[in-house]
Amino acid sequence: MTNSADRLSGALFLLFGLALYFAVIPAYVEIAEDGNIAPNTMPNILAWIIALSGACLVVKPTKIDAISFGQFSRMAAFVFVLAIGIYAMGWFGYMIVAPVLSLVIMAMIGERRWVWIAAGAVGVPALIWLLVTQVLDRSMI
């Protein structure tokens, strides 16, 4: 248990809030003259709340178990694979990409039993396709 994780996240939120208020909101919120609340009022208030709360967290952190570099790396690897899979679905379609994506994810988890691999990489994508396109008559991705 350490309080450095809270200090780190608090500092990031402090910077995020300040960046929102001084850079992002002025650039990406259009100003309108009419109305009771200006379009930037709510985001500006929220930016200050985030920045001030982040500062409070830096000053008065709580003790939490921070995630390890290994856990973060494994999560990032799965996100990377999923992102590539989703991008590929846009190009090649669900029927080609889904079995490969499922196979890769199962292999990354550590599955080596061919029956389960076959079920996950062939059976499940086929069942989803059958349900969506044949039973429900909806188009796939």
């Binding site: 909101i25 919120v29 009771n36 379009p39 709340i49 992102a83 679905m89 846009g90 429900l136 991705i141």
Partner: protein, 503 residues
């Protein structure tokens, strides 16, 4: 007032074998789909509505009601077994349901969820049938100032979920509101924080945000912890004490006040458009935790935590129909789908519905009563099957859940853009969870955000920008006073809990 003969004729129409079959099929589909993380009853209803076009109105609506009710029971199953809520409503159920399942009592946890869900649902249906019109009139009299005060009260109650760090709770709520402000400004419709991506003009899709932050982030956490070893998504105990696999009458009866409070909370919130079952579940959970003599046992497998969440979220379903049937105002996404189905089948929800189509309305009430019994019956039999499905290796469960989330969100949001948003929120959810920020507070704030902003704008217009004029709105004043009391009460409770913990 509707004539008694019309009421009896309506119930007579409903209680037929033909309608019962559609209710059974709807509940079965709802429970199955609700048990699959990332799909949920809303998706199932959206997909199912076109298939009811060829049916008569009553069986069609009975089927959809079955899907909706079954989905709420099914949604609790992955929440309890995998800590991956099938629906956002079930996230509160996971707080105690999953720890209880990890203690080797998955069937006790899921059965308690089933029983409390049916109890809450039946309570709200009785309220709907008996007092729907007066309650809806009360809700109709709430103007923007009262609605704003109600939103403030909802946020005040959220402080009960903040935990150890107030700053983290505030950041989570502010992030939710910030994400809700992406899209168009509700008064002038000017683009706001869309960064030139016009797909964002209508705002971030709720399905993408909720499923990404709640379901995918949890799957990512489990995958990151897997370290190349394949285990079951949930380890079911072999043999063991049979008492751990069932809910005794004494256990059920000990939760009667918790379920009553949950059902009452859900019914009140369900009758008020915009709040929804997720907020009801967490409010009921926070109330129960605050009222408990053992608040430290919540989050560690307390059966009353499950009862509080499930009775509240299920009671919203019936109560949602109060403003829908009498005013034509849907109180949630599910109710909005039901209203569209009603209109397809020739029902025009509104004040004249009871007068013009009273027989059909009471037929619908009959179908709802049937759906409750069927939900209990199929749940009793089906839970064992769903639990076994979830006991498969996590390699296939998580790979399947990821594929279904991708397909489901793609269908709900109309393409891969929504899936990309889902992945972004999966990472945000993972990091928030890893650093101790409440995802649930963020999601509720995201859901309430647009309505809060428009209510504030309307209130300011009504009061000519003079906030002191709120004294002319006694209901709003009462709600604001209750908000102050709730904040003080929950913050003191949190502090008390922390000091007890540290001791």
């Amino acid at each position: 007032m509707v004539d008694l003969s019309i009421i009896l004729a309506g119930f007579g129409d409903a209680f037929s074998v033909y309608n019962l079959l559609f209710v059974v099929f709807g509940v079965l589909l709802g429970q199955f789909v609700g048990a699959i993380p990332g799909i949920g009853p809303i998706m199932a209803m959206a997909i199912a509505i076109p298939f009811t076009f060829t049916l008569d109105p009553l069986p069609a609506i009975a089927f959809l009601i079955g899907v909706n009710k079954g989905g709420l029971v099914g949604g609790a199953i992955p929440a309890v077994l995998m800590n991956t809520p099938g629906t956002p409503d079930a996230a509160a159920t996971a707080l105690d349901g999953h720890p209880l399942a990890k203690q080797g009592k998955p069937l006790k946890a899921t059965k308690m969820a089933l029983f409390s869900s049916i109890t809450g649902d039946t309570f709200s249906d009785i309220v709907l049938i008996t007092v729907s019109a007066p309650l809806a009139i009360l809700a109709l009299r709430m103007g923007p100032v009262e609605v704003t005060a109600l939103m403030v009260f909802a946020f005040a109650v959220l402080t009960g979920l903040i935990g150890k760090s107030i700053a983290k709770g505030v950041i989570a709520a502010a992030l939710g509101l910030l994400f809700a402000s992406i899209g168009s400004d509700p008064e002038n419709y000017t683009p706001r924080l869309i960064f030139g991506v016009w797909d964002l003009y209508d705002g971030l899709p709720l399905a993408s945000v909720a499923i990404g932050a709640l379901a995918i982030s949890e799957i990512l956490r489990r995958l990151a912890d897997a370290k190349g070893t394949v285990t079951s998504a949930i380890k079911l105990p072999e043999g063991g004490d049979p008492a751990d696999q069932r809910v005794s009458w004494a256990e059920y009866w000990s939760c009667r006040y918790v379920m009553l409070r949950g059902a009452f909370t859900g019914t009140i919130l369900g009758a008020l458009p915009g709040i929804g079952s997720t907020a009801a579940a967490f409010m009921s959970y926070a109330f129960t935790k605050a009222a408990s003599k053992e608040p430290e046992s919540f989050g560690k497998g307390n059966i009353k935590g499950i009862a509080a969440a499930e009775s509240a979220n299920s009671s919203v379903v019936g109560a949602n129909l109060i403003p829908l049937l009498t005013l034509g105002i849907p109180g949630s996404v599910g109710a909005a789908l039901i209203i569209s189905a009603f209109m397809i089948h020739g029902m025009q929800p509104g004040p004249l519905l009871f007068e013009n189509q009273g027989r059909l309305v009471y037929g619908l009430f009959g179908a709802m009563i049937m759906a409750n019994f069927v939900n209990l019956w199929i749940g009793q039999v089906g839970l064992r099957f769903w639990v076994k499905v979830m006991a498969a290796p996590e390699s296939i469960i998580f790979a399947s859940a990821l594929l279904m989330c991708i397909v489901g969100v793609s269908m709900a949001s109309g393409g891969l853009f929504g899936v990309a948003i889902m992945m972004i929120f999966a990472v945000i959810g993972y990091l928030m969870s890893a650093y101790g920020y409440s995802i649930v507070i963020m999601i509720i704030a995201f859901f309430l955000g647009p309505r809060l902003e428009i209510s504030i704008a309307q209130s300011l217009a009504l009061m000519n920008g003079d906030l002191t004029r709120v004294i002319n709105y006694p209901v709003a004043l009462a709600l604001l006073a209750m908000s102050v009391v709730a904040v003080v009460y929950f913050l003191r409770s949190n502090r008390g809990g922390d000091s007890a913990e540290s001791e």
